[in-house]
Amino acid sequence: MDSSSVFANIVRAPEDAILGVTVAYNKDSSPDKLNLGVGAYRTEEGKPLVLKVVRRAEQMLVNDNSRVKEYLPIVGLADFNKLSAKLIFGADSPAIQENRVTTVQCLSGTGSLRVGAEFLARHYHQLTIYIPNPTWGNHTKIFGLAGLSVKAFRYYDPATRGLDFQGLLEDLGAAPSGSIVLLHACAHNPTGVDPTIEQWEQIRQLMRSKGLLPFFDSAYQGFASGNLDADAGSVRMFVADGGECLAAQSYAKNMGLYGERVGALSIVCKTADVASRVESQLKLVIRPMYSNPPIHGASIVATILKDRDMYNEWTVELKAMAVRIISMRQQLFDSLSARGTPGDWSHIIKQIGMFTFTGLNTKQVAFMTKEYHIYMTSDGRISMAGLSSRTVPHLTEAIHAAVTRVD
């Protein structure tokens, strides 16, 4: 071949920080290796889990000879959209009953966030989004590439390993009126630190008084407390005051549908007419991106959500996952206490959801990877879902060594 590529000058892009952890883990040949990187649920045996109710739903779909593989509408599967809105906003939500909500099926949380951000970049008047510091690594890229300017507001307090509530109120209070604010609906990623109900109420009042537009990222509904309604409390609080908001939902974790890319973007509007116009504009964002969303995962979700028995079965399996994670938190905390590891480790049981922000620094993390073959993101975030009773002792040893030998 004699012709040089027009892309010859392209350099290799840096690895995605989170997915890169799994890549490194896979390369490691140590029998003791432990992957606490990406937030994917694992059983006590360290295996990925396909929910029983999901298998049932999938079998039903396969056995149904009348099913075809035609294109979904641009906005996705209608049943799925309605059921998703009910799931996050509550079946009795006035916003739904008044037809003020437009819901479009998207590719999991990432896709929902991107479509929402593109819509805002085109039609909203304040093109700045405030994101909590820290937040999921992909948020900045998603919003930036969609054309929004990204700023941070104080969120995590390393001293308490809890919420910097004063800082949060100050920063949001100083934000220009109308700015967009990204809120993690529950189980904040990466810190696991959530506002209390009272704090949420204060945040809501502040935001509404300044006309700040809430954009919820709900990736863990059901995983935080084990209860789907409780985990949607923050979102419902904002909707209940009659105001507007956006909400991105993901079924990756709570239905274990990671690879199927199932999610939804909802925009709660003031009136049904506005919601309808907004929906038509969302279609213009989606069509040139991928035309229409994938059918398989959404069909599984709709099958489960619309059948009362299957829905109940799902809540039971979901609660079991949440309970296992909560028990891992307790076990790790107890183990570190028993080991006498220096420091206050109570944040492990105070933080919520899949992740613990350990407070370990990058040097300590690198040490744990090198000496103990434990993989986590360099910010010290560990996925509790990757732990088991069997591996807690190994992690305890590693943390103990890191804290006592590395600063």
Partner: protein, 422 residues
């Protein structure tokens, strides 16, 4: 608990919130409907028993029903209840890309052996085109894209949203209803050296007009001289001639001439996997090392858009393509679909000629693939809809896949009715 809050707070805040909110979205106009998907929407709403949908390019059997291919059913039974719901493992995604790229370059191609391509799975053809458009913009921010006149309507949207300006080049000749070859060559010659072009390697959408192999050679030669970058959107491989290898011939001619190319592939039509959004994007590179660099950039673009494509469709396609028996079955099924469309083209043309239509309908059988660019005017298209409940896009593009032995006479009569006075 939440209900208490709502009573208390909505009294306090609804006024100010509603005033601010009304201003926020007032200017959002209702968006224009998509010219293609809106046809299906209207068709679905129509209750007439004689309605025919010739809108979207989705295959139908002779009963007018959507088809799930036998090879797909077998593949699906195999993977039902599989453990693979995690995000796409690299083994599975590499398999899909490898097998897809074989369809483009030929299974024994050196390009594949030497790893001289950057390939990623994509959300069907649209997703593959969009990834490339974003990539093009990122690394050639001043570049434009040349598109055939006409082209698939969504192509304009894709490159526009990727912020790449477009230009058109001559392609379809409305008088001959064939290729405007000399004007095409002129446009290619006159474009600045090193321009990006979007080409349809086979079964051009919407016209069904493809260059001959000789014409492709001339175009390719000119591209090499001008150092243009050809990007192929291959959405209908197998539907033009019924033979998958033959339909990729144009791409191979360009590659043999030493052109460096990019290619979007879709499995929506030829595997009937429309709703699963399975496709592939590949960019030819100098060597395997550069391929790694380009692939990493493409993955980064995808990561901020949707992370990774849905695994179900990927498992189906890689399962079918990597099993020799299933692949052989697939090849047969593609040929059968192409044959059915070709035979209905012949029937439709004959019927119109038998009705003594004053117009020339040769283009129905000259054009290839799923579509016939009928030459009907928007007024005639509208009449067909209102009087006969026959649906197609306003440009007169008919999806021949929607024609059956059961409705072809009705269709011929209807077309004759609206065109018999010239």
């Amino acid at each position: 608990m939440w209900k208490c809050f709502s009573t208390r707070t909505s009294r306090c805040f609804s006024t100010s919130a509603s005033n601010k909110a009304l201003k926020w979205w007032d200017h959002v106009a209702p968006a224009p409907k998509d010219p293609i998907t809106s046809v299906t929407e209207a068709f679905l709403a129509d209750t007439s028993p004689t309605k025919i949908n010739l809108g979207v390019g989705a295959y139908r059997d002779d009963e007018g029903k959507p088809v799930v291919l036998q090879c797909v059913k077998e593949a699906e039974a195999k993977i039902a209840g599989c453990d693979f719901l995690e995000s796409v493992s690299s083994a599975v995604s590499s398999k899909l890309v490898e097998e897809s790229v074989k369809l483009v370059y030929g299974k024994n191609s050196d390009i594949i052996k030497e790893g001289r391509f950057a390939g990623v799975q994509a959300l069907s053809g649209t997703g593959a085109c969009r990834l490339f458009a974003e990539f093009q913009r990122r690394f050639y921010p001043e570049s434009q894209i040349y598109m055939t006149d006409p082209t698939w309507s969504n192509h304009h949207n894709i490159w526009r949203d990727a912020l790449v300006p477009e230009r058109t080049f001559h392609y379809y000749h409305p008088d001959s209803k064939g290729l405007d070859f000399s004007a095409l060559l002129d446009d290619v010659k006159n474009a600045p050296d090193g321009s990006f072009f979007l080409l349809h390697p086979c079964a051009h959408n919407p016209t069904g007009v493809d260059p001959t192999e000789e014409q492709w050679r001339e175009i390719s030669y000119l591209f090499k001289v001008k150092n243009h970058f050809p990007f192929f959107d291959m959405a209908y491989q197998g539907f033009a001639s019924g033979d998958l290898d033959r339909d990729a011939r144009s791409i191979q001619i360009f590659v043999e001439d030493g052109n460096v190319i990019g290619c979007a592939q879709s499995f929506a039509k030829n595997m009937g996997l429309y709703g699963h959004r399975v496709g592939c994007l590949n960019v030819l590179c100098n060597d395997a090392k550069q391929a790694v660099a380009i692939k990493s950039q493409l993955q980064q673009i995808a990561r901020a858009m949707y992370s990774s494509p849905p695994i179900h469709g990927i498992l189906l396609v890689s399962g079918i393509l990597s099993d020799p028996n299933m692949k052989a079955l697939w090849v047969k099924e593609v040929k059968a679909m192409a044959n059915r469309i070709q035979s209905l083209r012949t029937t439709l043309r004959k019927s119109l000629e038998q009705l003594s239509s004053p117009l020339n309908w040769e283009h129905i059988t000259n054009q290839v693939g799923m579509f016939c660019f009928s030459g009907l005017t928007p007024e005639q298209v509208d009449l067909l809809l209102r009087e006969f409940h026959i649906y197609m896009t306003l440009d007169g593009r008919m999806s021949m896949a929607g024609v059956t032995t059961g409705n072809v006479n009705y269709l011929a009569n209807a077309i004759h009715e609206v065109t018999k006075f010239g």
